[in-house]
Amino acid sequence: MGFNFFSRKRGVESVSESATATATAVLERPVRRPRASAAEPFEPAEPCKLPKDSLLRQVELERLGIILNNPEHWQDHPDIEEVYKAVSAEIDARFALVPEGFASLPLTVDDGPGCPEVDYETEAFLLSRYMVTNAQFQKFVDVGGYSELELWDREIWPHLIDFKDQTEEPGPRFWRNGRHNRRLADHPVVGICYYEAAAYCRWAGFRLPTEPEWQMAASWRIRSSANVLRRYPWGDALDTSKCNIWASGIGKTVPVHAYPNGAAPNGVLQLCGNVWEWTASDFEMTDAEGNPVVGDMLMKSIRGGAFDTYFPSQATSCFRTALASLARPHNVGFRLAMDLPQDG
């Protein structure tokens, strides 16, 4: 298969035109609605209709990583080649290549110039251009993702019962009756804890980015003699027309496709602002005296800032912070990552 991860154009028009109409139609449904907030009327999303065919069902559910990583599972399917091409094209459209590079993570919460850092070398990997949306997460909820124990870390099983929406149904905290507000279909899913984000990733065949990977993607510190990094994904200067933070004056989430002018060089959107992003990494920082900073429970690193981040310095590519792993706030979502396919 041929990938085109550096393309900033989204869509399948640039790739194989032989992909089946069925698979393409299922995958290519841009959802664009006016901006809305949780305060607006709640309009429950319609249940998704799933094909009976096992392979097309996975396509409809957008479990692209599962299809891509398990081709042998459907090798007898009559349309496997076409579907596989369509899935490859969609991965190409939805993911961007983050080249190998460096990430220097500040070690102290007082993270001014000269603070101690730990250096990481990151391998090339794929990162989704957009955050996971409510509409995408709905599919995970609809097929019973919350009751598939193998998707969840064993230590969290006793807490699964707490992952309820406003009406005590399994789902993100701000949903109702297991449905998202369809006005927010293309907004990032929020009200999910680290474990819910990780379970979705596993279910879809992907993973969360690690903290060094996330920082590499946002700071674009590629391996070169120049050794430069970006303060923001688009460059070094804050520009509130390129991101959704408090100073942008919006005060709520925006669709995941917004702010194309704030993209990283490889076309990944909203690494700065809109909502914080869960990473796979545990939080390890100290205060200025070297005392570890801990929380009431396991803290996982979150990165990137959100629509309510007051200080622009806290929405930069290098700012580190964390949240309790079971917290389900209104301003944290996630995006998908995956290792490079072996065949390149």
């Binding site: 919460v109 007082d110 001014g112 406003q166 905290r173 408090w246 100073a247 939080f283 920082m285 100290t286 205060d287 005296e289 005392n291 570890p292 900073v293 801990v294 929380g295 803290m299 979150i302 800032g305 959100a306 309510d308 981040t309 007051y310 200080f311 310095s313 806290q314 700012f319 912070t321 964390a322 949240l323 309790a324 917290a327 706030p329 209104h330 301003n331």
Partner: protein
């Protein structure tokens, strides 16, 4: 020009061309920096004289460590960045000190130092606020009072004359309550708020069948620890701060409930030598800071 101001000059026989403290009314020498009686900043008086109108006082009260300084600091900073529908003009550099201290500390992920008990060391903010939608200008004085001083005054009235004077002059009151502590089952926030409200009630000396009409915003702070506050602040107060709820319902005619949070995530650093635990505000996430103020401004 007829001004209607009550900022007056005292007889020169007493203090030369003296000034009257607009908080407590005491006469002071014109060169004095602080009121000799209540320690209020006299810069406010000079600035009020220059404006030729008396400012309104909005008091932000609550117990120690509830977050009054952080709340007020962020509120002022948001106003000076034209948040919401407001335009704010600080009168005098002293009005900017508090927000500068709060913002510079919080940006470095430290809480600002505790407000000292002594009134002569409090920060005072004097702002002209324009609500653009209504084209309404309001001159506001907002002092950052220490929680310990408030507690002492409530326990023994007239201990801090400045607090008594400020609260009696207040055109609006914002009472901050620790929602996180209340949600954990502690009755302490309820009792402190009850004392504070009963103090204000007693100060107004209203008759039994009269209810106090001064707008009073009850703000559930640290609501990020109990997000249900944001959904239904009124219901939260009724369930978790029932004593406060009952008293406000009986005695206050113009009360509204809000939820607010400033810190997005809180960590703790424990010193390995002395075991002292320092809270670390890992990042800010402002929510509900402006709304109580907006409501107060609409009422005054």
């Amino acid at each position: 020009m007829s001004t209607g101001t009550t900022v007056t000059t005292t007889p020169s026989s007493t203090f030369g061309a003296g000034v009257e403290c607009f908080v407590c009314g005491a006469a002071n020498a014109v060169s004095a920096l602080q009121c000799r009686e209540c320690s209020a900043s006299l810069a406010l008086v000079h600035d009020a004289k220059a404006q030729e109108r008396e400012p309104k006082v909005v008091s932000i009260v609550g117990e120690s460590n509830v977050g009054k300084t952080v709340y007020l600091g962020f509120l002022l900073d948001m106003l000076s960045q034209r948040a919401g529908d407001f335009e704010a003009i600080p009168k005098g550099a002293y009005s900017i000190d508090l927000q500068q201290v709060v913002i510079s500390h919080m940006a470095r992920r430290q809480f600002p130092p505790k407000t000292p008990m002594e009134a002569d060391r409090w920060y005072w903010a004097y702002y002209q606020i324009l609500q653009k939608a209504t084209n309404k200008w309001v001159d506001l004085v907002m002092p950052d009072m220490a929680g310990e001083s408030l507690a002492a005054e409530v326990a023994t009235p007239k201990t801090f004359r400045v607090i008594n004077s400020l609260l009696s002059k207040s055109a609006g009151t914002i009472l901050l309550v620790d929602a996180a502590m209340a949600a954990n089952g502690s009755a302490h926030p309820d009792f402190f708020a009850l004392k504070m409200i009963s103090y204000i009630d007693a100060m107004h000396r209203a008759k039994r069948d009269e209810r106090i009409t001064t707008p009073t915003a009850i703000v559930l702070c640290k609501a990020d620890h109990c997000p249900e506050c944001f959904d239904h602040p009124r219901r939260f107060v009724q369930a978790n701060l029932n004593r406060l709820w009952n008293l406000t319902e009986s005695r206050f005619a113009n009360v509204e409930f809000f939820a607010c949070s400033v810190v997005g995530s809180l960590g703790y650093a424990a010193s390995e030598t002395d075991g002292y635990v320092t809270p670390v505000p890992l990042h800010t996430a402002l929510r509900g800071v402006l709304e109580p103020f907006q409501w107060i401004i609409e009422q005054v």
